[in-house]
């Protein structure tokens, strides 16, 4: 990789004056020994949550989707909220991997692997919801343009749900390939560290695709990586734009808004960064990766959160202004109802968590106080979940004809499904931490070497 023009005054990206061997040791350490008690507890809780979710979904399948709190007016609520939430979470990974890669933001090397993994798991969590929310989920394959013998039956390419199907499946595929390609050198490193010829060795050998580490291999690898990054970049923008069109192309006041695509993308990056921040802060502590995920990384990510949070705040304001400026009474009502109606509390949570709290990041003291950063990042996650809830439920529950207005209360089955999706996410993530290198060894090494050279060797 090309040398970066990094001044001597910039703190090093990787602390602790690591040698290349140390990097390998540090990253692979969690994969070698026995898992810690903390990991086991985490896994137990996650699996429990996952089982709860599986039970809830199974019960829903057996009994009917009426076990959710939906009604004739509010046809989408928690499931679609969760869907959009998880898709949003899934944005940070590709953003960090692809866009920041293209922009040569080298601090990304410490977090990109975990962020990409997070993306994969988040998209899996997200993809579950559109399927299970269907009245007849067993017919979900009808959503694909499968050639069939049922006459002229085909899918409706005018439907935003159809666009979703393609957007999400494309995004998932690219994210997975991107993640896997990035993993190959590290898989080879792990392969080389394994003594003996056990199944683990064979597995890693298989998946490292005969990586030799030669300059030629590296050359090809970097070309592919660059290409994939270029392919992935538009997807970061497109996925959430298309998800937002589920709402923007409808005619429900509060949904029918042209601002939605950029607004949703900003919100997605915002929530994704917050989730990366949350996970990294935890991983840094529990996996002893303080040297790799430094305060500088945290600092950059908080600035990201601050920036996207402000964008989101601007979007909220714009929505209200346009509602006022449009003179459309239905739209005006939708927004006053959003803020002061029965779900005003959710709106308040959303504004406080997404707009007010991130503003604290203007202060350097806040940005360097990891406990506060952690709490704010959690709040942003909560706030972004509520943003989707507010958009979906408050717009639907009081639309055009007051005669059909209805309230919405989630049932315990829906809560259990939400908990289950978190269970799935963390189960996957914990397994990932244990069985795969959660920091891109090869990429970090390039940063370490660079640091050593530019600062004149270890001090």
């Amino acid at each position: 990789m090309a040398d970066m023009d990094v001044g001597a005054l910039r703190p090093p990206l990787i602390a602790g004056h690591k040698t290349l061997a140390q990097v390998t040791e540090d990253v692979c350490a969690p994969m070698d020994g026995r898992p810690t008690a903390l990991w086991w507890i985490g896994l137990a809780i996650s699996v429990l949550a996952l089982s709860l979710g599986v039970a809830a979904v199974w019960y829903m399948f057996v009994t009917g989707i009426g076990t959710w709190g939906l009604n004739r007016t509010v046809g989408w609520a928690l499931a679609i909220t969760n869907f959009v939430f998880w898709i949003g979470i899934g944005h940070a990974g590709t953003l960090i991997s692809a866009i920041l890669f293209l922009l040569r933001q080298r601090w990304r090397t410490s977090v990109n692997r975990a962020a990409e993994a997070m993306t994969i798991f988040a998209v899996i969590c997200a993809a579950i919801f559109p399927v299970i929310h269907m009245g007849r989920a067993w017919l979900a394959y009808w959503m694909f343009p499968v050639p069939n013998m049922r006459g002229s039956l085909w899918v409706n390419f005018l439907s935003p749900l159809m666009w979703d199907v393609f957007a999400i499946s494309t995004y998932f595929t690219i994210s997975l390939v991107f993640w896997y390609v990035g993993l190959i050198p590290d898989l080879a490193t792990v392969r080389d560290r394994i003594r003996g010829n056990g199944p683990r060795k064979r597995l890693f050998s298989f998946f490292s695709l005969g990586w030799s580490g030669s300059a030629r291999t590296w050359h090809h690898y970097e070309a592919v990586y660059l290409l994939l990054a270029a392919l992935g970049t538009p997807l970061v923008i497109s996925v959430h734009s298309i998800v937002s069109m589920d709402f923007a192309t409808s005619l429900i006041p509060g949904w029918h808004t042209t601002i939605f695509p950029p607004y949703f993308v900003a919100g997605a990056i915002f929530s994704g960064m917050a989730m990366v921040l949350t996970l990294m802060l935890v991983a840094r502590k529990t996996m002893r990766l303080e040297d790799y995920i430094t305060l500088r990384h945290v600092d950059v990510m908080t600035k990201f959160v601050l920036f996207t949070g402000s964008l989101v705040g601007l979007a909220y304001g714009t929505e209200f202004f346009i509602a006022f400026y449009s003179g459309n009474p239905y739209e005006q009502f939708a927004y006053t109802n959003r803020a002061f109606g029965p779900f005003g509390w959710a709106f308040a949570i959303m504004v406080i968590c997404n707009v007010v709290l991130p503003q604290l990041f203007w202060s350097k003291r806040v940005r360097t106080n990891l406990a506060v950063v952690f709490v704010i990042s959690l709040c942003v996650n909560v706030g972004m979940w509520f943003e989707r809830f507010v958009i979906i439920v408050t717009s639907l529950h009081r639309d055009y004809l007051p005669s059909s207005w209805a309230d919405y209360t989630p049932t315990m089955i829906e809560y259990a499904t939400l908990i289950g999706s978190f269970g799935l996410f963390f189960t996957c993530f914990l397994l990932f931490c244990r069985f795969l290198p959660m920091i891109a060894i090869g990429e970090v090494k390039s940063v370490v070497a660079h640091d050593a050279r530019s600062t004149g060797g270890p001090r």
Partner: protein
């Protein structure tokens, strides 16, 4: 390739011989035949065709075959083609109004009841309860065999025992009483008389659970005959109603609605729009339609009657002094104006009153006399027989029973233990009567204490007749072989008198002797009878008791003095609901789930308070309150606990509770609807649907009263939310959230008559329907283009269409909990909006809302699997098989008319499933459904037209909602046919479309509501 081979290969003989158009054979679906033009089959013509077969079938079914199963046919009757509907004319037995019926039979079983357009009173209308009563036929809890001491018995045993006992009673001269509701059947009436004749001490006592006894008593005083005058709302131009819910539940709502809407068509010049003033305590369906409505405490209604009578008597120079009246609770100027209106419309005005005070009824008769209503808007010479109950007789019988002086009591068609205030006492008394025979078809409060239960049949299994209005005799004919071993009342009586005869023979015999001599034609009896069976109704010379002209009876009548209402107490008003009436439909889940037209509450009764009163005593919707009242006579305290409901427009000092709830046997609905973890039961804490309020009625001084009792209201601290399909939204959005100028949504449009006369388009809220379009129209609509217009000015909100649609389209019942969760399945709903009226009153507007079949349907574009598509004829079609249930279409529907199958809504009752319409698919779990504009009826009409080689006429298709609408508010047809009624309605200046500004281009439109308003005061329509 060798081309010399000239051998032809063929797959079928058709191909070889006929070689049809290869393009046609490739097509899976045939083109719909292009049927256009003017000729069509009228209903009457169709009936004629069906009727010839039917008359023979009807006659042959007079003798009972031992087979009782209705289906399947082992040997198919020649005249029945499976899959083809047959229509039979009959008479509705849902209440005592006796509306004409057309029963649609499919495959040997009735599947739908519709109004008979040839019936001179009901004119094709049929109310919700009437249409729903078909479900009672397939009720699995109906008694199918006689019972003796609560045990199933055989008819032979029961008959033997009853005859022996009756013989003893006859020889001993014991008192025999025959207690019935109003018997509208001349045959049954005369047969009961004949049955009682041999007994030395026998009497037939009739009462109505919803009593109008005072009205009849007043008529006896003023006209010398105890009859119910026939009210001709169609002839009335000024209508004043005192607490009479004549469009909803009072006496004969369908007939009255037909007449009322005929007087408000806005046709002619000046436009015909009767003026309607309503004085009432609660918010009734009728009150919501009124041009001037005032909420009064029950006691104040009498005062207003007195004041109005005084004014009219002065104008007519009649001797009338209704006593020293307290000041009227209504501005005197408005009363003057009302009296003036009545006076100016002499001969075209009508005063009706539902009070159970004979003196008030006499005053109303005096008013009617003063304004010349008798002979024009009120017919006493040709009265109605829909109510004949006599509360004085009932009271006497009750006293007789408590004294133990009755030897045998027959109870038919009524449920006195439930109806009467002291039901437990009556039940005790009944247990001491040696012989109690109930003809109830269910185990109910009364039949469970009867010695013998000899179940009468459902009216669809009966031969009977009805003379609802003098001179209009309609026939009831069986449309199915009886399910079970029930026996008609008249057959039982014939057996017990020792001359067993079939009901058909009994009815025919009565007709030969009594009805035929009153004929107006000179047809022989056979033709007369067959005509009557075919048409369902025949007009004969009225045979009414002689009346004398209005006498001086009213001279000394005083308005009864009402005791003052103590502070903190409420005046109780008990009222029937459109679905339950007096409780007779308590076994009907459709009617339980039918939202009350005004409150929109289902599956419950409740205590209604005005919002101000609720605020005063600190209760909110759903809070359980305790109503306590001590009986003035016995001193016993009666208590019931009910959820509170806040009802705008109700009087502040009134609490209103519906009758007909808390019926025995409604515990059967405990598990109606889906059963799941968070599902809640449909029944209340008492295990029943609702709470019986009958204990608060009073039967004293010869009248059964439902109003005026004083109750003390206390909070219990518990809440039980009501299952309402619509909450308390006025048309306006909540004031605190309303955008400037957007508080009132332009959903319903109304105007005043004065404005309408000046400008027929007045009241338009100026929906800016976009006209410019970048794109060519998606749908050319070259053939038919189905469209509907709903006249809001005609619609009363009676909900007949809701049940009509439910029966026609197999709409499931979902239970109370699902309704509470806003998951009712009705395809057509009636949106009810309140608005601030004049005088601080509340206006009610009803708007039937169904799928609008938009040309630019927002649902169609968002469905990912194309499960909802547009037909070439303008219908928005839902393809259940293709639906995967994303519910995106429902979200995107601005009218929120799509209904989703959240569960497999239970249909386990196999007998009840016989009511399902075979033409309509039963939807499974997870699919969306909605109004199809009765596409099966369109297809049937099309097939019939094609079969007859005729074009599809402009009136050939009637949707289920349209057919039964008593007010004829719904017009449906081909908008491409300029002659069709719907096309003409679409050109009306009152035509508007809801949410037209969204450019979804709905195919359903509405006609603006027009009301008289005080600013019309200067307008002199009648002058």
């Amino acid at each position: 390739m060798p081309t010399q081979n000239r051998k032809r290969y063929w797959k079928s003989r058709e191909e070889r011989d006929g070689a049809p158009d290869p393009a046609a054979t490739d097509r899976e679906f045939f083109d719909t035949p292009a049927v256009t033009g003017a000729a069509y089959t009228t209903r009457r013509g169709f009936l004629t065709a069906a009727g010839f077969g039917l008359a023979g079938a009807a006659l042959s079914s007079c003798s009972r075959a031992p087979v009782v199963q209705a289906i399947p046919y082992l040997v198919q009757p020649e005249e029945v083609t499976p899959g083809r509907p047959y229509f039979y004319a009959s008479t509705c037995g849902g209440c005592s109004a006796g509306c004409g019926l057309i029963v649609r039979n499919r495959d040997g079983r009735p599947v739908k009841l519709e109004g008979n357009p040839d019936h001179p009173a009901s004119r094709g209308g049929l109310c919700a309860a009437g249409q729903a009563s078909i479900l009672g036929l397939y009720d699995s809890q109906r008694l199918t065999a006689p019972m003796r001491d609560g045990q199933r018995a055989s008819w032979a045993d029961v008959d033997g025992a009853i005859r022996t006992t009756l013989d003893d009673i006859r020889t001993q001269g014991g008192a025999v009483r025959f207690l019935t509701g109003t018997v509208t059947s001349p045959t049954v009436r005369s047969l009961i008389g004949a049955f009682l004749k041999p007994f030395p001490n026998a009497r037939h006592v009739a009462y109505d659970a919803l009593s109008t006894s005072a009205l009849l008593d007043a008529c006896e005083q003023t006209h010398g005959a105890r009859v119910l005058p026939r009210l001709r709302f169609d002839r009335a131009e000024v209508i004043v109603s005192f607490d009479a819910d004549f469009l909803g539940t009072w006496i004969s709502p369908v007939e009255y609605t037909v007449g009322y809407s005929a007087g408000r068509t806005l046709r002619g010049d000046p436009p015909r729009l009767s003026y309607h003033a309503q004085f009432e305590s609660r918010m009734s369906l009728t009150g919501g339609r009124a041009d001037w409505r005032i909420a009064l405490a029950p006691a104040e209604i009498g005062i207003v009657i007195g004041h109005l009578a005084e004014r009219l008597a002065r104008m007519a120079d009649m001797p009338l002094a209704p006593g020293a009246l307290p000041p009227a609770p209504v501005p005197a100027a408005r009363l003057d104006e009302l009296a003036d209106r009545l006076w100016r419309a002499r001969g075209r005005s009508l005063v009706v009153c539902a009070s159970q005070d004979t003196s008030l009824q006499v005053l109303c008769n005096a008013m009617n006399h003063a304004v010349g209503a008798y002979g024009t808007t009120i017919d006493v010479e040709r009265p109605s027989y829909q109510r004949a109950g006599n509360d004085r007789d009932l009271e006497a019988l009750r006293d007789e029973l408590s004294a133990g002086g009755v030897a045998a009591l027959f109870i038919a068609g009524v449920n006195p233990v439930y109806d009467l205030p002291d039901g437990d006492g009556l039940a005790q008394a009944l247990r001491t009567v040696p012989l109690v025979i109930s003809f109830a078809d269910h185990v109910d409060e009364t039949s469970s204490v009867a010695r013998y239960v000899c179940p009468d049949r459902h009216f669809l299994e009966c031969w009977s007749d009805t003379e609802a209005v003098a001179g209009v005799v309609s026939l009831t004919q069986p449309v199915i072989r009886p399910l079970g071993e029930s026996r008609q009342l008249i057959e039982s009586l014939a057996v017990w008198s020792g001359a067993p005869m079939s009901a058909c023979d009994l009815v025919r015999a009565h007709w030969t002797q009594q009805i035929y001599p009153r004929r107006r034609t000179d047809a022989p009896f056979r033709d007369f009878w067959e005509r009557a069976v075919h048409d369902g109704v025949v007009e004969v010379t009225p045979d009414a008791p002689a009346v004398r002209p209005f006498g001086e009876a009213a001279r000394g009548v005083m308005v009864p003095e009402a005791p003052p209402l103590p502070d903190g107490d409420f005046a109780l008003v008990l009222y029937p609901t459109v679905g339950m009436l007096d409780g007779r439909h308590a076994h009907n889940p459709w009617l339980h789930e039918l939202p009350d037209p005004t409150t929109k509450v289902t599956w419950d009764n409740y205590a209604s308070f005005s919002p101000e009163a609720a605020g005063r005593i600190g209760i909110a919707d759903g809070d359980v309150v305790r109503l306590e009242s001590s009986d003035g006579l016995t001193g016993a305290t009666k208590v019931i606990e009910l959820s509170a409901h806040l009802q705008p427009g109700q009087h502040d000092r009134v609490v209103a509770v519906a009758l007909g709830y808390g019926r025995m046997g409604t515990d059967r609905f405990a598990k109606v609807g889906p059963q799941w973890i968070e599902g809640r039961t449909t029944v209340g804490t008492n295990g029943l649907i609702g709470v019986s309020a009958a204990g608060f009625r009073t039967l004293a001084n010869g009248v059964l009263r439902d109003t005026g009792r004083l109750v003390r209201v206390t909070k219990t601290g518990r809440t039980r939310p009501l299952a309402a399909t619509q909450s308390h939204h006025m048309i306006a959005v909540p004031a605190a959230l309303a955008p400037a100028g957007g508080a009132r949504r332009p959903i319903v449009e109304e105007t005043t008559l004065a404005a309408y006369v000046k400008d027929p388009t007045a009241g338009s809220l100026g929906h800016a329907e976009p006209t410019a379009d970048l794109w060519p129209p998606d749908h050319p609509y070259t053939g038919h283009r189905w469209a509907m217009v709903v006249d809001l000015n005609a619609c009363t909100g009676c909900a007949a269409c809701v049940i009509g649609c439910q029966v026609e389209n197999n709409v499931p019942v979902v239970g109370r909990d699902e309704v509470r969760r806003h998951r009712e399945m009705h395809w057509i709903r009636i949106d009810r909006y309140y608005a601030d009226g004049d005088d601080g009153g509340v206006d009610v507007i009803h708007q039937p809302m169904l799928c609008q079949h938009c040309e630019h349907a927002s649902c169609e574009v968002v469905c990912p699997v194309l499960a909802t598509v547009h037909s070439s004829e303008g219908l928005n079609q839902q393809i259940y098989n293709r639906c995967v249930g994303t519910r995106y279409c429902a979200n995107n529907c601005p009218y929120k008319v799509r209904r989703f199958n959240w569960f497999d809504y239970p249909r386990e009752d196999r007998l009840q499933n016989l009511v399902l319409n075979p033409d309509v698919v039963v939807r499974s779990r997870g699919v969306m459904e909605k109004c199809s504009m009765c596409i099966q009826r369109i297809q049937n009409a099309r097939i019939e037209a094609a079969r007859l080689g005729q074009p599809l006429g402009p009136n050939a298709v009637e949707t289920a909602c349209q057919q039964s609408c008593p007010a004829r508010a719904i017009t449906f047809g081909d908008a491409n046919d300029p002659e069709s009624p719907v096309s003409q309605a679409r050109t009306s200046p009152r035509y508007f479309r809801v949410l037209a500004e969204l450019n979804v281009k709905p195919a359903v439109g509405y006609l603006r509501l027009v009301r008289h308003r005080p600013e019309d005061g200067g307008e002199r329509r009648h002058g």
